[in-house]
Amino acid sequence: MKTSSSQSVLFATAEVSLPSQPKRAKSPVSNGVVGMLIFMVTETMFFAALISAYLVIRAGLEEWPPWGQPRLPVETTAFNTVVLLASGLLMGYSRALLQKNNIQKGRRWLGISILLGAFFLISQGYEWLQLIKFGLTVSSSVYGGLFYLIIGAHGFHVVGTLAALIYAWNRLGAYENPVTPEGLFPFQLLWYFVVCVWPILYVLVYLT
């Protein structure tokens, strides 16, 4: 069969194989993790600023807590602290399971970790209601103002992180647009941050 010159050029072009591009090495750390780490730096500075303000204001007052203000529920909050730490540990366990591609079991432990976090939040909220009943409000004294500012900022972070984790838990192993264990990791990092900040705040605000 005779082919025209234009067809020959077309066939010749089709047979030319492009030189294989050198494959880019896969980054050991995902962009999500780097972004979350930078976000955590800013969050740490935020809490450091709150802690600094607390320490400076407290150092300027002779009596702490001020006279006439209710005492904070140390024992109940200690139990809540243990619950939150357990939640952090279970988050680590679920991470280990998910890394081994054991999605179902990892998802279950992630759910339990989220439940413990939710328990912490509800229990803290109940304590707040009790404290408000006893007269400790934002405007009752500088003590109340600092307490609600610092503990409230932490509570706000717990709410935000739990919302993200619940969304991720729901999408983990889903048929459409599933969240992968690697995609979940930045949110888990944020949860570790929230868990690790709390004992510092507890010792600072409740115990000293």
């Binding site: 050991p28 750390v29 930078i38 802690i51 600094s52 320490l55 400076v56 150092a59 300027g60 007052l61």
Partner: protein
């Protein structure tokens, strides 16, 4: 010119006679040693903390890339 000098003098007099106004700044609520110490400690803390954190993250990232290579 005299009017300006008079205003400056009155301001100066005001600061001497009414130290409460001078103490109205946000960080002048207490002049105790404890407050001074708290300012020193928190200033050092807030200055060093970002450097420590960023250096730690940088080192961790460096180690992660080293492991891959």
């Amino acid at each position: 010119m005299r009017k300006k000098q008079l205003v400056h003098f009155l301001l100066f007099l005001n600061f001497i006679l009414a130290p409460g106004i001078v103490q109205a700044c946000a960080v002048c609520f207490s002049g105790t040693e404890e407050t001074l110490e708290a300012f020193y400690v928190t200033t050092i803390f807030l200055t060093l903390l970002p450097f420590v954190m960023l250096a730690s993250i940088g080192y961790w990232l460096y180690r992660q890339y080293q492991k891959v290579q």
